[in-house]
Structure formats: C-alpha cells, structure tokens
Symmetry: C2
Subunit: 330 residues, 2 copies
C-alpha cells in the first residue's frame, strides 16, 4: 500500500505562520464503512480564516497542535458505500489535507464535472464567491451612482465583490497590496480605481478617490484600514464586515473604529458569515456561471503543486504574498 500523507498543525503559529508550524505525517489507515465514500483529494482551498482556527478563536472551531489541517477540498470518489454516489464523480467537502480520505456521504456535495477548472468549485463558484454574493445581494444595496470600496480586493472574495459591484452599476474602488494586483483589478476586472495601501497614504487616497464618500464598504481586513474607511463614509452608508486579515496573525483582537463614526454617517454595519447564506447557493451558482460564461466575472488562482507545498503556500497567503485564490493542486 502506498503512503497516505497528511498535513497537521505541529505548533500554534506565532504571527505569520511558517512552514515549520506544520508537519507531514502518515494518515491513520482508512476503513470504508456504510454510507461512506473514499476519495482522492484533487484540490485544497487555503483561506485566511484557517489562521483564526489555529489561534483557537474562529467561530467554526479550533485546530489544535497535533490536529490535521482541515479545509474545503475537491475530491474524486474512488469507492462508494452510498447508492447516491458513484466512483468517478467529484464532490466538495471539508476534509483533512491528505491524499486520500474517507468521509460520510452526508458531508459530501456532488459538483458539476463540466466546470473547468474544478477548483472553481471552492473558489469563484464556491465559498468565497458565495460570501461575496451574499454580502452584495443580501446585506448591502448596491446600485448605479453608489461608491463601493472593497479591501483585500484581489483576493477571491474581494475580486468577486468588486465585479458584482460593477455589474450592479457601482463606482468600484479596490484596496490591494501591490502594483501588480492594482493593475489587474483595473485592467482585467474593470475596477474604477485602486489604492495600494503599502505605498499610498490611505486617508488621502480615500478622500481623493471617493470624493462623495463611501456608500458601501466591504471589509475583509479590519484594523486601521476599517477605521480609515469609516472616516470617509457617506451618509446612510452600509458596511459589511466579513474578514479580519489584519488580526488573524495576532494573539489578541484589535479594537474597532470609534462608534461616533457610525453615528455620524448614520451607517448600518453588519456582520457576514457565509454559513448563514447556504439558502442562496443555488441562485448564486446559476447566476455566477452565467457571469463567468459572459466574461462579467473573471477569476485568478494562485495554485501550488503537491500536498507538501501546502504549508509554504498557506504561509505566503497569510503574509499577503498570494495573488488570486490560494489553491493546492494534488
């Protein structure tokens, strides 16, 4: 029998994770029971929220040292003990990062094999895409003439948010961390303007690029970036709080903007957790496939090759060095 390798958390990361915080071990032997599936993992999704799990404070539960790393993956069924699944079909599920897994059929969701690449099912057509869709369609009220600001704009959530904003007629401003990312947002995705937070004065740039204030701010970052955005809100602005990139690498959560900024703008601030919006998934998928086909939504993936590359790729993601949806291809 060939080895079935698994990536585990070796030690709780301090600050930005390092490859040494993880380990590659042999997975426990797999046995296939009733109503279970054996799958070969093809793609692993790397996401910033995993860093919160490693600190033990994400709402989906902790990952402790010794635990396998778990995230959403695409698997190919090789053996099925459930009549509704057949070998050769593809599924998505939350699984350990390893070559082969056995999961309960009830936890697997069949995916459309015609979508190319299949990794889109855990990217632009998956959780990040649904996150953007729920935030923009259910929580916020975009429309022509409104200014939409989005942070971590070149990431899978941010880039979908901005493109949905363009489809809805918004003036879209994106914040990203490199000239390459900013150029892509403008030239490929049609963002109206961008701010490179590493080289530009954030407040000066916001004042210049959002002269009538920000009507919708979709926040993937928190920290001072959130405060700066809230200092530039238009009256009756909407703020969708979705991600906390600024604090995932920290031991303690950072404080937020002064409540006076919410009062001054008569803003509505809402917290977004994608799990609450599963009921939107079918509508989202139908719509997003159409947008993709029409070229109204484009995507970028940052693909690393091989299970062994996952720790390094996750470290790059958490240092903001990825460009596009971080995916590990097995």
């Amino acid at each position: 029998m060939t080895q079935n390798l698994r990536i585990i958390c070796k030690q709780r990361p301090q600050g930005i994770p390092k490859p040494e915080d993880f380990d590659l071990i042999n997975a426990p032997e797999l046995t296939l029971g009733q109503a279970q599936l054996r799958c070969k993992i093809r793609y692993i999704s790397l996401d910033p929220y995993l860093r919160g799990k490693l600190s033990g404070r994400h709402l989906s539960g902790p990952i402790h040292p010794g635990d396998p790393m778990i995230s959403e993956t695409v698997g190919e069924i090789t053996e099925s003990q459930d009549p509704t699944f057949q070998p050769g079909q593809y599924i998505r599920a939350f699984t350990p990062w390893q070559h082969e897994v056995v999961i309960n059929a009830a936890d697997a969701i069949l995916i459309d094999p015609a979508i190319d690449p299949l990794s889109l099912q855990i990217g632009a057509l998956g959780m990040p895409g649904l996150t953007a869709y729920a935030g923009m369609i259910r929580l916020a009220h975009p429309g022509p003439g409104k200014t939409l600001l989005v942070s971590a704009a070149s990431g899978p959530v941010g880039s979908s948010v901005g493109q949905i904003g363009k489809i809805q007629g918004c003036h879209v401003v994106g914040i990203a961390g490199s000239e390459e990312k900013c150029n892509w947002l403008k030239s490929s995705l049609g963002f109206d303007s961008t701010i490179n937070y590493k080289t530009q004065d954030l407040r000066e740039a916001l004042a210049r690029q959002c002269p009538n204030g920000i009507d919708i701010y979709f926040d993937n970052v928190g920290g001072d970036l959130l405060t700066a955005a809230m200092e530039h809100l238009a009256l009756n602005a909407e703020v969708v709080l979705c991600g906390l990139m600024e604090q995932y690498n920290k031991d303690q959560p950072s404080p937020g903007p002064s409540p006076g900024l919410v009062i001054k703008a008569r803003a509505t601030v809402r917290g977004l957790v994608v799990y609450d919006h599963e009921d939107l998934r079918e509508q989202f998928l139908a719509q997003a496939k159409l947008w993709l086909k029409n070229g109204q939504i484009q995507f970028k993936e940052d693909v690393s090759q091989g299970l062994e590359s996952a720790p390094q790729a996750f470290a790059r993601l958490m240092a903001g060095q990825n460009f596009g949806k971080a995916i590990v291809k097995l």
Copy 2:
C-alpha cells in the same frame, strides 16, 4: 430696562466641565424685526451632546469660547411680528441660554400649553423621547421574548427606551450608576433587572442577567461598556448607537469594539441621530401622550432653578450626578 443675562462658554472645558468654564454676561440688546418673535425663556434643556459641541466635534456644530450656550428651550411669546404667533403662546426652539430672546418665527415650533409641566416638551415628549422612539420603533425590532439592554438607563433617552421596550414585550435590563437610579428603574418603570456599573462586574452581570444574550442593545455611552455589551450579543442582535457619554468629556474619541464581535453575532449596528427622524414626531407625540396618560411611560426631571444655576447643573449632568432629565427652570 432690566438686565437680560446670558450664559456663554468662557473657556473650552478640560474633562468634566466646571462652572468656571462658563460666564454670565449681559446679552446684546434685542430688536424685533419682521417675522420675528420676542420670548421669555421658561425652561432650558441640558443635554450631554452639548459637551461634544464644546469640544468642537459634534455634528450639529461647535460652541467656541465667547459664544452663547445654545440648546432647546421652551419660551413664552411676549411680542410677535408674525401673524401666525400670538403673545401668550408657548414655543420650543434652539436659543441662547438667556432670560429673553428674539428669534425668527420660522425657527419656532408652537407647543401644546395643556401639557404639564411644559418642560416635558423638551424631555419625555421632546427630543429625548423622540430619540428613544425612533431607535426602538424605526431602527430596532423589539418584541416579546427579546432581551433589551440600555445604558444610561435612568436618563431621559434611556428611561424612555426601556419603557418602550416593556410596552413591546421585551425583557428589559438597564445599566445605571447608582442604587437609587437602579431602584427607580425597577420599582417605578418596571425594568426587569438593572446593573450598577459602578459597583458590579459588568461582564459577570451581563452574563447572568442576559443568559440568552442581548437581542437589542441601545447604547448611550460607548467605551468599554459598549464592548462588554457586544461580547454578550445574541445571534442576529441589533445595536443602536445613540450617545457617547464615555467620550464627551475627552479630547479624543475612544476606539470601538473589535469588528469580530459584530461578525460573530451577525449583528446589525446602526447609528441614530434624532434630527433624521423629524417625520416621526407627530406619530410619536400622539403615541407618547397616550402612554403618559395611561401611566405606561413615566418620567423624572432633575430641575435646577434660575439661569445662574445652568453651569453648575450642566457640570453635574456631565459628571453623571443628575437623576432624570436635566432642566433649568427660569
């Protein structure tokens, strides 16, 4: 001619205002022009937001050293150059703190002389009452089984908020700063429980008194009190940000709660400014008069006598030493 005295800001207060920060001077001579009214001021409303104006950072504009103190007052018309107003009628308006004023008829609003005391028109039936009503009826969604928490609960806004919450069927918990205030909230206003933030451990008390979490938090304070409340939100909670008592006496605004608390609770946080809700005033007045008549809304006033008492009364208000709506009676 008798003297017409006026209270001005003498110097920008440092921290809690002191009577020495104000001065009593002779007002400029009054001349009555077309479409103007001469009024004797009967009641002056003292409100915490005035402290923000003295720091130059309230959204209704600053009060600079040398400027008259201005707030909402009840006046009796003694002379009218406008056909729609008659001497002997009572009005409310924003005027300087002085014995006699001349104002534009367009800035005066006639009030019902049958309401006793007339000071209710700038209290439970005025801006503080409308603030509570707009927050509870338009921004939040109270109802049976929901837990409502309100801070500065014995103040004119907080006590109205809690009583409207009771009328709507909520379980109402109030935060106040003395046993006397807490006892009044429970025994006279029917609050279900109270927290004395000066003597109790806030987080422990919130966990005990809101065991299913806080569904609606009406915040008049900000600071750590806001953070503690947001640590105890129920899922899908609503937070109405209305006042910033914690920071009015400070030079710099305080930071707010971590955005992760909003995300975790899927909360909706909204900023309330009463000026936006003038369209509700008639509906509010009709409803609140009925509630008052039926004893469903009770009120308490902290009345000081004479124009000269206003600086001391305002200092007491900003030190949290008032008990009830701070009013100066002339």
